[in-house]
Protein backbone atom coordinates (compact mmCIF):
# COMPACT_ATOMS: atom_id res chain seq x y z
CA UNK A 1 0.00 0.00 0.00
CA UNK A 2 1.33 3.38 -0.92
CA UNK A 3 2.11 5.88 1.78
CA UNK A 4 -0.71 8.29 2.48
CA UNK A 5 -0.21 11.99 1.83
CA UNK A 6 -2.91 13.98 3.58
CA UNK A 7 -1.28 17.29 4.45
CA UNK A 8 -4.41 19.36 3.78
CA UNK A 9 -6.64 17.19 5.96
CA UNK A 10 -4.17 17.22 8.85
CA UNK A 11 -3.68 20.99 8.66
CA UNK A 12 -7.43 21.59 8.62
CA UNK A 13 -8.04 19.10 11.41
CA UNK A 14 -5.54 20.80 13.72
CA UNK A 15 -7.53 24.04 13.56
CA UNK A 16 -11.03 22.62 13.20
CA UNK A 17 -10.76 20.23 16.14
CA UNK A 18 -9.98 23.13 18.49
CA UNK A 19 -13.02 25.00 17.17
CA UNK A 20 -15.20 21.90 17.57
CA UNK A 21 -14.01 21.33 21.15
CA UNK A 22 -14.73 24.97 22.03
CA UNK A 23 -18.17 24.73 20.46
CA UNK A 24 -18.85 21.52 22.42
CA UNK A 25 -18.01 23.24 25.70
CA UNK A 26 -20.23 26.18 24.70
CA UNK A 27 -23.08 23.77 23.94
CA UNK A 28 -22.54 22.08 27.30
CA UNK A 29 -22.77 25.29 29.32
CA UNK A 30 -25.73 26.78 27.41
CA UNK A 31 -27.88 23.79 28.26
CA UNK A 32 -29.99 25.20 31.08
CA UNK A 33 -32.03 27.79 29.18
CA UNK A 34 -31.01 27.39 25.53
CA UNK A 35 -30.58 24.45 23.14
CA UNK A 36 -27.71 22.33 24.34
CA UNK A 37 -26.84 20.27 27.38
CA UNK A 38 -24.69 17.42 28.50
CA UNK A 39 -25.75 14.86 25.92
CA UNK A 40 -25.31 16.98 22.80
CA UNK A 41 -22.15 18.61 24.20
CA UNK A 42 -20.64 15.18 24.74
CA UNK A 43 -21.64 14.14 21.23
CA UNK A 44 -20.00 17.24 19.71
CA UNK A 45 -16.85 16.53 21.75
CA UNK A 46 -16.85 12.94 20.47
CA UNK A 47 -17.26 14.29 16.92
CA UNK A 48 -14.11 16.39 17.37
CA UNK A 49 -12.24 13.35 18.66
CA UNK A 50 -13.53 11.41 15.62
CA UNK A 51 -12.06 14.06 13.32
CA UNK A 52 -8.70 13.60 15.07
CA UNK A 53 -9.02 9.80 14.71
CA UNK A 54 -9.77 10.19 11.00
CA UNK A 55 -6.96 12.59 10.17
CA UNK A 56 -4.32 10.97 12.38
CA UNK A 57 -4.59 7.45 13.80
CA UNK A 58 -5.88 5.72 16.90
CA UNK A 59 -2.48 5.09 18.50
CA UNK A 60 -1.23 8.69 18.49
CA UNK A 61 -4.50 10.19 19.78
CA UNK A 62 -4.72 7.51 22.47
CA UNK A 63 -1.12 8.01 23.57
CA UNK A 64 -1.42 11.80 23.66
CA UNK A 65 -4.74 11.99 25.51
CA UNK A 66 -3.63 9.57 28.28
CA UNK A 67 -7.30 8.71 28.95
CA UNK A 68 -8.98 5.33 29.10
CA UNK A 69 -12.37 6.14 27.58
CA UNK A 70 -14.10 3.10 29.11
CA UNK A 71 -13.06 4.33 32.58
CA UNK A 72 -14.20 7.84 31.57
CA UNK A 73 -17.70 6.58 30.69
CA UNK A 74 -17.92 4.62 33.95
CA UNK A 75 -16.86 7.66 35.99
CA UNK A 76 -19.52 9.74 34.20
CA UNK A 77 -22.30 7.29 35.03
CA UNK A 78 -21.05 7.17 38.64
CA UNK A 79 -21.13 10.99 38.93
CA UNK A 80 -24.65 11.14 37.47
CA UNK A 81 -25.99 8.46 39.83
CA UNK A 82 -24.26 9.93 42.90
CA UNK A 83 -25.83 13.33 42.14
CA UNK A 84 -29.23 11.69 42.31
CA UNK A 85 -28.42 9.74 45.45
CA UNK A 86 -27.12 12.87 47.24
CA UNK A 87 -30.62 14.34 47.14
CA UNK A 88 -31.96 11.13 48.73
CA UNK A 89 -29.37 11.41 51.51
CA UNK A 90 -30.57 14.93 52.26
CA UNK A 91 -34.16 13.76 52.58
CA UNK A 92 -35.59 14.82 49.21
CA UNK A 93 -36.70 12.52 46.43
CA UNK A 94 -34.32 11.06 43.83
CA UNK A 95 -32.69 13.59 41.41
CA UNK A 96 -34.07 16.69 43.16
CA UNK A 97 -32.01 19.71 42.11
CA UNK A 98 -31.33 23.06 43.70
CA UNK A 99 -30.50 26.51 42.34
CA UNK A 100 -28.47 29.23 44.06
CA UNK A 101 -27.67 32.78 42.96
CA UNK A 102 -24.14 33.73 43.93
CA UNK A 103 -22.05 36.84 43.18
CA UNK A 104 -18.90 35.56 41.54
CA UNK A 105 -15.96 38.00 41.32
CA UNK A 106 -15.57 37.98 37.55
CA UNK A 107 -19.01 36.99 36.20
CA UNK A 108 -21.28 39.06 38.48
CA UNK A 109 -24.56 37.57 39.66
CA UNK A 110 -24.51 33.97 38.46
CA UNK A 111 -27.12 31.26 38.70
CA UNK A 112 -25.49 28.05 39.89
CA UNK A 113 -27.56 24.87 39.58
CA UNK A 114 -26.68 21.44 40.92
CA UNK A 115 -27.98 19.89 37.72
CA UNK A 116 -24.73 21.03 36.07
CA UNK A 117 -22.96 18.28 38.04
CA UNK A 118 -25.47 15.74 36.70
CA UNK A 119 -24.84 17.15 33.19
CA UNK A 120 -21.08 16.73 33.64
CA UNK A 121 -21.73 13.05 34.42
CA UNK A 122 -23.95 12.66 31.35
CA UNK A 123 -21.36 14.37 29.12
CA UNK A 124 -18.52 12.16 30.38
CA UNK A 125 -20.66 9.03 29.90
CA UNK A 126 -21.56 10.02 26.33
CA UNK A 127 -17.94 10.87 25.43
CA UNK A 128 -16.70 7.57 26.87
CA UNK A 129 -19.37 5.47 25.17
CA UNK A 130 -19.14 7.12 21.73
CA UNK A 131 -15.34 7.09 21.58
CA UNK A 132 -15.21 3.49 22.83
CA UNK A 133 -17.63 2.44 20.06
CA UNK A 134 -15.62 4.26 17.38
CA UNK A 135 -12.30 2.89 18.65
CA UNK A 136 -13.52 -0.69 18.85
CA UNK A 137 -15.04 -0.48 15.34
CA UNK A 138 -11.94 1.08 13.78
CA UNK A 139 -9.47 -1.08 15.68
CA UNK A 140 -10.52 -4.57 14.63
CA UNK A 141 -8.33 -5.32 11.62
CA UNK A 142 -7.16 -3.79 8.38
Amino acid sequence: MKKSNDVILRTVAKVASVIIFTFAINLFFSGHHNPGGGFIGGLAFAAGLTLLFLSYDIASVYNNSMLDFKVLGAVGVLIAVLTGVAAMVLGKSFLTHNVARINLPLFGATQLATSVIFDIGVALAVIGTAVTIIMSIGNDRQ
Binding site: M1, K3, S4, L9, A16, I20, F23, N26, L27, S30, N34, P35, G36, I40, A44, A47, T50, L51, F53, L54, S55, Y56, D57, I58, A59, S60, I134, I137, G138, N139, Q142
Partner: protein, 92 residues
Protein backbone atom coordinates in the same frame (compact mmCIF):
# COMPACT_ATOMS: atom_id res chain seq x y z
CA UNK B 1 -41.00 39.11 2.75
CA UNK B 2 -42.95 36.05 3.80
CA UNK B 3 -43.74 35.18 0.21
CA UNK B 4 -40.04 35.13 -0.65
CA UNK B 5 -39.30 32.89 2.34
CA UNK B 6 -42.09 30.49 1.41
CA UNK B 7 -40.94 30.43 -2.21
CA UNK B 8 -37.37 29.61 -1.16
CA UNK B 9 -38.61 26.84 1.14
CA UNK B 10 -40.55 25.39 -1.79
CA UNK B 11 -37.46 25.54 -4.02
CA UNK B 12 -35.42 23.82 -1.28
CA UNK B 13 -38.02 21.05 -1.10
CA UNK B 14 -37.70 20.57 -4.87
CA UNK B 15 -33.92 20.36 -4.65
CA UNK B 16 -34.17 17.92 -1.72
CA UNK B 17 -36.31 15.70 -3.96
CA UNK B 18 -33.72 15.92 -6.76
CA UNK B 19 -30.93 15.11 -4.28
CA UNK B 20 -32.81 12.12 -2.90
CA UNK B 21 -33.26 10.90 -6.47
CA UNK B 22 -29.48 11.12 -6.98
CA UNK B 23 -28.94 9.41 -3.61
CA UNK B 24 -31.11 6.44 -4.55
CA UNK B 25 -30.26 6.25 -8.26
CA UNK B 26 -26.60 7.34 -8.23
CA UNK B 27 -24.51 4.98 -10.34
CA UNK B 28 -21.37 5.10 -8.19
CA UNK B 29 -20.53 5.54 -4.52
CA UNK B 30 -19.01 9.08 -4.84
CA UNK B 31 -22.29 10.30 -6.33
CA UNK B 32 -24.15 9.05 -3.27
CA UNK B 33 -21.59 10.62 -0.90
CA UNK B 34 -21.96 13.97 -2.64
CA UNK B 35 -25.72 13.66 -2.46
CA UNK B 36 -25.49 13.07 1.30
CA UNK B 37 -23.28 16.15 1.71
CA UNK B 38 -25.75 18.17 -0.38
CA UNK B 39 -28.61 16.95 1.85
CA UNK B 40 -26.73 18.29 4.87
CA UNK B 41 -26.36 21.71 3.26
CA UNK B 42 -30.04 21.74 2.29
CA UNK B 43 -31.05 20.95 5.88
CA UNK B 44 -28.78 23.81 7.04
CA UNK B 45 -30.44 26.25 4.63
CA UNK B 46 -33.91 25.07 5.68
CA UNK B 47 -33.01 25.72 9.31
CA UNK B 48 -31.65 29.18 8.44
CA UNK B 49 -34.79 30.17 6.54
CA UNK B 50 -36.97 28.84 9.36
CA UNK B 51 -34.89 30.91 11.81
CA UNK B 52 -35.63 34.04 9.77
CA UNK B 53 -39.28 32.99 9.58
CA UNK B 54 -39.84 32.83 13.34
CA UNK B 55 -37.37 35.67 14.15
CA UNK B 56 -35.40 33.74 16.74
CA UNK B 57 -31.71 33.06 17.30
CA UNK B 58 -32.27 29.73 19.04
CA UNK B 59 -31.30 27.50 16.12
CA UNK B 60 -27.82 28.86 15.32
CA UNK B 61 -26.20 26.05 17.30
CA UNK B 62 -28.20 23.55 15.24
CA UNK B 63 -26.78 25.04 12.03
CA UNK B 64 -23.20 24.83 13.35
CA UNK B 65 -23.69 21.28 14.61
CA UNK B 66 -25.16 19.98 11.33
CA UNK B 67 -22.26 21.63 9.48
CA UNK B 68 -19.69 19.94 11.70
CA UNK B 69 -21.34 16.50 11.44
CA UNK B 70 -21.72 16.82 7.65
CA UNK B 71 -18.03 17.76 7.29
CA UNK B 72 -16.83 14.85 9.43
CA UNK B 73 -19.06 12.31 7.68
CA UNK B 74 -17.87 13.49 4.26
CA UNK B 75 -14.22 13.15 5.37
CA UNK B 76 -14.91 9.64 6.68
CA UNK B 77 -16.65 8.55 3.47
CA UNK B 78 -13.82 10.00 1.35
CA UNK B 79 -11.19 8.08 3.30
CA UNK B 80 -13.28 4.92 3.15
CA UNK B 81 -13.61 5.18 -0.64
CA UNK B 82 -9.93 6.00 -1.06
CA UNK B 83 -8.37 3.19 0.95
CA UNK B 84 -11.05 0.75 2.08
CA UNK B 85 -11.04 1.63 5.78
CA UNK B 86 -11.72 4.86 7.60
CA UNK B 87 -9.49 4.96 10.68
CA UNK B 88 -5.81 4.08 10.82
CA UNK B 89 -4.70 1.90 13.68
CA UNK B 90 -1.12 3.13 13.65
CA UNK B 91 0.43 5.55 11.17
CA UNK B 92 3.49 4.34 9.32
Amino acid sequence: MEAILKLSLLLIVLSILATVFRLVRGPSVPDRVQALDMLGFLIISTTAIFTIFIRSTAFFEVILLIGILSFISTVAFARFIERGYAIDRKSD
